[in-house]
Amino acid sequence: MYEFEFEKPSTVAEAVAALADEDAQALGGGQTLIPTLKQRLAMPSKLVSLTGIAQLKELSDNAGMLTIGGAVTHAEAAEAAAGPYPALADLASHIGDPAVRNRGTIGGSLANNDPAACYPAAALGSGATIVTSRREITADDYFRGLFETALEEGEIITAVRFPVPQKANYQKFEQPASRFALVGVFVAKYAAGVRVAVTGASEEGVFRWREAEAALDASFAPDALDGLSLDAGGMIGDLHGTKEYRAHLAAVVTRWAVAAAA
């Protein structure tokens, strides 16, 4: 690593102030950022740890709305969501390994927006609201491509609000080495309609599969997906699978998720 300053503020306001310095960077659980620093691939002047901010650790479950603080770890989220939103709890409890789940945070995951990460699928699939130190952003507006989000310099994710669906499920087909999602699909059925979010597959990052949503609106059953397929064109092709394979898997995994949710 290169040398950096370290601050651990206790309020969002202090954190925002600390992040105003040039090249300062927020630190969540460090599960992505610390390995990057160790490899000297990033050179922040200052790290501002968010894990000492009480507000960012808050959890609430109110009138069908589950709110998870930006610095809540995957393990804590899994526990908190177990009752109100089991599909989300299941997703959180299958991210990485215990060490990753005990340190990695929802804010870090969404800020990073790894194209193979799990939480982006849950946020987009649930139509969640990303609450930041400056504003509220709907999931549909938040994700902007590989590692790209609507967040601006110094903006902190303080919480994520998940409307709880009638039915939901997340399935991931793991990449054999990293065990991130080679393809992961989050399906959620709301009164207003079904949402299907696919992670791991696309060169544009997490996306909604609208045709599947429409079909599932008509009938929330795996058979409803018969004959639907994704275009391999925009899919990721790499060592672990071709574009065609990912497009195929997305359809398979969507069926699994619908079957498990229905």
């Binding site: 690593m1 490899q39 000297r40 087909f173 054999p176 080495a177 990293s178 991130f180 080679l182 060592l239 672990h240 699978g241 071709t242 394979y245 195929h248 898997l249 398979v252």
Partner: protein
């Protein structure tokens, strides 16, 4: 009741107490007063000319002790290759210089371009970033077939081509071999890849060089499987140091799998730099460095052809392989695709004609060398795959086809130069059929099909030559080293024993199993015996651990030394009991005079040896310490039959291993529990190769799978609970323990069983797939099914 001590018992591994409680002493745990740290600047391109290196800014950076480049090593030797293979025309292999630091040309990603020694590691890294390199990129040579093309760019300008050697073994007469194929009733042909692997031991490599000016002595702590070999190669070939001034210590080593046999540049560097800097110099590899600097394994591309007569008897076998050497010749690299591979091509079968052709190729990739099994897995894989394919083409039962062609009489001289001393392939196959519950397979398949899965069953046999090796034979084949081993048994006055062994334990459990033998021979408690290993300053000149040789070769030396101890102790006992030494018997630690009730205890004799008041000093030296060197008369030939049962998800191509059974013949067994563990570990690595692991390069010579994010290691949930049986035992005929070695079997015998099972599953589902190259990742299986 099973024994709880001695040969054949399964005491728990005593070394595990320290490993599992954080009390191990690994090289990185060692810190020397005043040590500095080295950071290696490694090439990030595969092939380039170094026009200039400017280290002036780096040299003035805080904490920097010294910056080294290739020029600093112009006066020392290159890293030697330990095996010279003679090609089919009688010419020696092409052998390029292998510099410690790149000398003008970069030849693979990861090659050392410069080294910075500084007070702290971070300072060394900072300074390395200030080194200015002026490079001219050259075309990278990656693909082996392309590397052999007429107009290919050369990895080494001073060699005639990228061909290291073109070697033929077995029957050299092309026409005779072709005639056998022409007259065959059936010929099965298979082209396949034996995928390139990275060993990835849990402990990365580490080296600490020290130099003591007062005595002009060096100490190198290093993560090695064979400290004496490292000392010899480094002193005699690289640095030109007197061996007696250099001590090499390999303390606890966290796994090697072959990758820690070889002498590496970093070891020579730290030793050299310690003197140049007047400071101890320490290097600890990161995992990222390990991927691009540890020797890789396998990487063969093969075409194999099997000829059969009308009765399905194998009549001839011909193989053509290209084997990747990488950019330089690592220590045993040239022996792996030649003598460790070609000699095994007969397998368990009495095929009368075998011809093996191997072309080894230089490429702009990390050097390739031995990895668990080394050559023998490559031989087994192609042979057992082509037999399986033949069975499917002929509609024959794969087990029956194998049985029909088994060698059944021993000793058996193969057409590829080996003499198998013992074995019983029918017995291991019988045992396998029982252990694998073949009878229940149909029901299990039906159950899988009910769940929408395809189920397949695959079997294979293997034979390996291990207990490496008879020095005179390997010498004739080009080895530039002897492959005996050595042990010193030092009995203390109170009767406890330290055995100094040339073998090195880096996971094999020697500290438990070796004492079992000595304690058993004398009849004392195992807790009275310890082994000492891994330190050239303490142990006799042994050749270390690889090739499943430790108990077969070093264990034999230990038996011989213990026999000398017993013989001398009997003389002392005879003196004490005023009897003739011919009449002395030793049992349960008591010396008795045959036919009398006279006895003296082991401890009385050992005390007498060191307090020789009442002692035949004119006939016998005092003390009780003996050394033996043992050079085996032949290789040992463990063999067995393995069966794998898989489920394939037709929707995703994902393969899961449902059952895996192994029936091995390891000859006599010292500690069955440790043998189980060795087989389990080997199977895990074989399954890793078959399903998961792949060191993939792109066309520019960049390693695509250069971290655990992309290189898939097998994990606990990737492997099943194994059924392992080693009750079929045909003892080795030529070593005193009748042992054969078990360390590599699992990795040698398992990949073909896995692939055979997957092909069986796919064909049962109506897919006409005949082969998929490893690793059988979900994506590849799916593509094959839908191709």
């Amino acid at each position: 009741m099973p024994k709880d001590q001695g040969i054949g018992a399964s005491p728990k591994r005593r070394e595990d107490v320290r490993f599992l409680t954080g009390a191990g002493n690994y090289t990185d745990d060692i810190n020397v007063n005043g040590q500095a740290y080295v950071h290696f600047l490694r090439a990030d391109v595969a092939h380039a000319t170094i026009n200039s290196i400017d280290t002036s800014a780096a040299e003035t950076m805080p904490g920097v002790v010294k910056v080294f480049t290739g020029a600093d090593f112009a006066e020392v030797g290159g890293i030697p290759c330990g095996w010279g293979v003679t090609d089919r025309h009688g010419n020696p292999q092409q052998e390029p210089r292998h510099p410690i630091i790149a000398d003008g040309t970069i030849r693979h990603v990861g090659e050392i371009v410069a080294a910075v020694v500084a007070d702290t590691l971070e300072q060394a890294r900072d300074a390395a970033e200030a080194i200015e390199l002026d490079l001219s990129d050259k075309p990278a040579v990656v693909n082996m077939a392309a590397a052999l093309a007429e107009d290919a760019a050369k990895v080494h300008e001073d060699l005639t081509s990228n061909l290291c050697y073109d070697w033929v073994f077995g029957n050299p007469d092309d026409d005779a071999v072709q005639a056998a194929f022409d007259s065959a009733a059936h010929v099965t042909t298979l082209e396949l890849v034996n995928n390139r692997l990275v060993a990835n031991p849990m402990e990365p490599r580490v080296a600490i060089g020290e130099y003591t000016r007062g005595t002009d002595e060096y100490t190198l702590h290093t993560t090695s499987q064979n400290p004496h070999v490292i000392r010899l190669l480094m002193c005699a070939f690289v640095l030109g140091l007197p061996e007696h001034k250099v001590r090499v210590i390999a303390p606890d080593v966290g796994g090697g799998f072959g990758s820690k046999i070889f002498h590496y540049a970093e070891e020579a560097f730290c030793t050299f730099a310690a003197k140049a800097c007047g400071r101890a110099v320490k290097w600890t590899s990161t995992r990222a460095e390990a991927f691009i600097s540890d020797a890789h394994g396998r990487d063969h591309v093969t075409k194999i052809e099997l000829a059969l007569d009308a009765d399905n008897n194998f009549t001839a076998l011909r193989t053509n392989t290209m084997a990747n050497m990488g950019a330089y010749l690592s220590t045993f690299s040239t022996s792996v695709p030649s003598y460790l591979h070609g000699t095994l091509m007969a397998g368990n079968y009495k095929t009368p004609i075998v011809q093996v052709n191997v072309k080894t190729v230089f490429t702009n990739t990390v050097p390739v060398d031995a990895y668990r099994g080394a050559g023998r897995p490559e031989a087994t894989f192609q042979l057992e795959r082509v037999i399986d394919k033949a069975a499917r083409e002929l509609g024959a039962d794969p087990i029956a086809l194998r049985r029909q062609n088994f060698i059944t009489e021993f000793p058996y001289e193969t057409p590829v130069a080996l003499t198998y001393d013992t074995g019983d392939y029918v017995a291991t196959m019988d045992k396998l059929e029982e252990v694998a519950d073949i009878a229940g397979f149909a029901a299990r398949r039906a159950e899988s099909e009910k769940n929408g899965k395809l189920r397949g069953f695959g079997v294979n046999c293997y034979i390996e030559a291990c207990g490496i090796a008879p020095s005179n034979i390997v010498g004739m084949l080009g080895a530039r080293a002897g492959l005996y081993d050595a042990a010193t048994v030092r009995v203390n006055a109170t009767g406890t024993i330290s055995v100094f062994v040339g073998a090195h334990s880096h996971g094999q459990g020697h500290e438990t199993s070796f004492p079992q033998v000595v304690a058993d021979m004398i009849g004392i408690d195992e807790s009275m015996v310890d082994i000492v290993h891994g330190d050239t300053g303490r142990v006799p000149f042994g050749m270390g651990t690889y090739g499943s040789r430790s108990i077969a070769v070093c264990g034999s030396a230990m038996v011989r030394a213990t026999e000398k101890i017993i013989s001398k102790a009997k003389k002392i006992a005879a003196h004490l009991m005023e009897a003739s030494d011919a009449d002395i018997e030793l049992k349960d630690g008591q010396f008795t005079v045959a036919g009398t009730d006279k006895s003296v205890a082991w401890g009385d004799v050992t005390l007498t040896a060191y307090v020789p008041h009442n002692y035949p000093l004119e006939e016998l030296e005092p003390g009780l310490e003996e050394t033996a060197f043992y050079d085996p008369a032949n290789f040992t030939y463990p063999s067995g039959a393995y069966a794998c049962e898989v489920e394939v998800d037709p929707d995703t191509g994902k393969v899961t291993i449902e059952r895996f059974a192994a029936a091995d013949d390891f000859g006599n067994i010292i500690n069955p529990m440790i043998v189980d563990g060795q087989v389990h570990g080997g199977l895990g690595q074989g399954i890793g190769q078959a399903l998961l692991e792949n060191a993939a390069y792109d066309e520019d010579g960049q390693l695509l799978s250069a971290s655990f994010m992309d290189y898939a290691m097998p994990r606990a949930d990737d492997v099943p609970f194994y059924q392992v049986d080693h009750t079929c035992q045909t003892p080795c005929t030529h070593n005193p323990l009748g042992v054969k070695g078990c360390g590599e079997a699992g990795a040698i015998g398992s990949p073909p069983a896995v692939v055979n099972a997957v092909i069986d599953a796919l064909q049962s589902g109506g897919k006409s797939v005949t082969h998929i190259d490893m690793p059988l990742s979900p994506a590849r299986v799916w593509a094959a099914m839908n191709g």
